[in-house]
Symmetry: C2
Subunit: 354 residues, 2 copies
């Protein structure tokens, strides 16, 4: 059972919920933008499904509704932002905008973030840069959930990494990935259905790969994608998101969803922006990106494959459909969204069940 | 059968070979540094094994012995270097040094490279930055050899990515990876032994995963690590190495090893350096990196696992052994090195076979 809702209705609901939780109008709109776009992309694990969790923290004090994220140190090509325990989306949008502004002057810029929280879909911030013609890269750390090769438990977070590259006639190339083989949500779903999982997804309490999801996440951990490569990328992201920004890392971070909601989560994040037009004619750049995309579209396909996708194309197609026809929210999202609405005295709009 | 050689002897051989191929003294030393350090790390696929191939190109004109890599455009936090078809190591060392110098003033810097060639092990350049207390990131594009999800053949290069993070009491964290599941060399080795391979390494002529290496690389392609994630990272590296620098991309690149040696290969590369001391007290940074490494070393291990490795630790241990006891070159490296020596009228030094 799904629930179809207009993008504008979903956005309005999230915005009003954030406002009722005490956020200023601009911040409520920013938070709603991130969550609603994420749902429009079809990335339902990181959209309004999590609204209730953010509201709980805003109400309990782990997130400060009127926190004031601010630049605490900066140079011509970098800055460090202290999030003041504001909503992660508010701090992250401010940070990427700062990176874009500095990159427009210097060619590229890094902005590190500390005292933040879960920021939702990393791809949103990368896209912010691409909308202005810049290459954007966004990353964050998180509570440990992913093993290292040989470990018995979690060593790093699933540390997301996203990038967006502006094109000309095409939409931006957009990749948003975690460094785990799969998201924890896929393991939960298999556990709920009582089904086994591929044995490269998680390890058990002894650190052995297992196809039994029943113990997760109480014991064991997710496996990193591509073994030591995913583990190695996780440590780079930990460095650029947590250590370089002065944020917490690994076990110093609190879960935004299941730790005491009155605690600050202390997440870190890192944002990079590169202004291509300082390095070359922007038309040359976007023409070459278009050429790469066209080349991929025209490349020979395996039997039965209809199309080769460039990263982001599936999301952009879902986005266009969502803007035209509304978003079909899966039932778990609807349940969480109802709970969120009730927390702040709101109701879901009447939706056409389909 | 292996061949043990002192680091200094191997370095001297490579340096003299490059000099006899026409390189200036400094450039010959730079090329030898990169190849000998790579062998000392035990990364034999990218060290002096490839010397003969570089010499062939230097003699045939595809590489210019007296090429003059130079900055063709720059800003405070970026530069573009034209390699003038010099040895890839010479251009890449110049580019990373430029990135380090600019990062020391601006906090971070990007240097893009065009008209270069195969640069060997990306990790060497990342380490150059770490030696001066900076975070270094190095990447390059290459001829297509890796599939995209659903493709029948290669779409991107195996596009290497390396990073180095300076620590305090520990050696730098150092990761050097390609975005393919495994290196092509592993497929060649299985083919030579007549053995099957895991079916997530390559695709066959129809684009289907196969455990039969016999057709590779004439048909088929390597598979990207972690499917769409590795493919997506390959396109980011293609963008930052090739498109942003004005280098060739994908099918516009020539193979340094098996295309006509009189052709310029036109590889691109990208180098990033971040000077941590502009963003925070360097002692704070290195203390936190040390803490992360200590935390990993102390973490619970799966049964039978002696130790959890931080990226680079295996390489640093081999490096220390190599400096102390010499390098045990595998037989395929020895054979290629003999051929290289003969090309320029040199002989391998007497080595203790072991």
């Amino acid at each position: 059972m799904t629930f179809r809702i207009a993008y504008s209705e979903l956005h309005k609901l999230a915005e009003e919920a954030f406002r009722r939780a005490g956020l200023a109008d601009d911040d409520a709109r920013t938070g709603a933008d991130v969550l609603a776009v994420t749902d429009a992309w079809g990335v339902f694990t990181h959209g309004t499904k999590n609204l209730a969790g953010y509201l709980r923290r805003l109400q309990a004090g782990g997130l400060r509704p009127r926190g004031q994220p601010r630049v605490v140190s900066e140079g011509p090509a970098w800055a460090v932002v202290d999030g003041d325990s504001s909503l992660g989306m508010v701090t992250s949008v401010l940070a990427m905008r700062k990176a874009v502004a500095k990159a427009k002057a210097s060619g590229l810029a890094y902005v590190g973030v500390r005292n933040s929280c879960h920021f939702g879909a990393a791809g949103y911030y990368a896209w912010l840069a691409a909308q202005e013609g810049l290459i954007g890269i966004a990353m964050a750390n998180d509570i440990p959930s992913v093993a290292a090769p040989g470990s018995r438990g979690a060593i790093t977070g699933s540390n997301p990494l996203a990038y967006a590259v502006p094109a000309g006639k095409h939409r931006p190339i957009l990749l948003d990935m975690a460094i785990s083989t799969v998201a924890g949500g896929k393991v939960f779903a298999a556990r709920a259905r009582g089904e086994p999982i591929p044995n490269h997804w998680i390890i058990d309490a002894q650190g052995r790969p297992t196809s039994d999801p029943s113990g997760f996440p109480t014991v064991g951990a997710l496996l990193p994608m591509a073994g030591h490569k995913g583990y190695g990328l996780a440590l780079l992201i930990e460095t650029l998101s947590g250590i370089l920004s002065g944020a917490a890392i690994t076990w110093g971070i609190h879960s935004w969803s299941h730790h005491d909601a009155s605690l600050q989560t202390l997440h870190g994040a890192g944002f990079l922006a590169i202004d291509v037009k300082l390095l070359q004619e922007p038309e040359t750049f976007t023409r070459r990106v278009d050429g790469l995309i066209d080349e991929i579209h025209a490349a020979p396909r395996a039997d039965g494959v209809q199309r080769l996708y460039v990263p982001g194309e599936m999301e952009w197609e879902r986005y266009d459909t969502a803007m035209r026809e509304g978003i079909c929210l899966p039932s778990d999202v609807v349940a969480n969204l109802k709970a969120a609405a009730e927390m702040v005295g709101l109701k879901l709009p009447e939706g056409a069940e389909s």
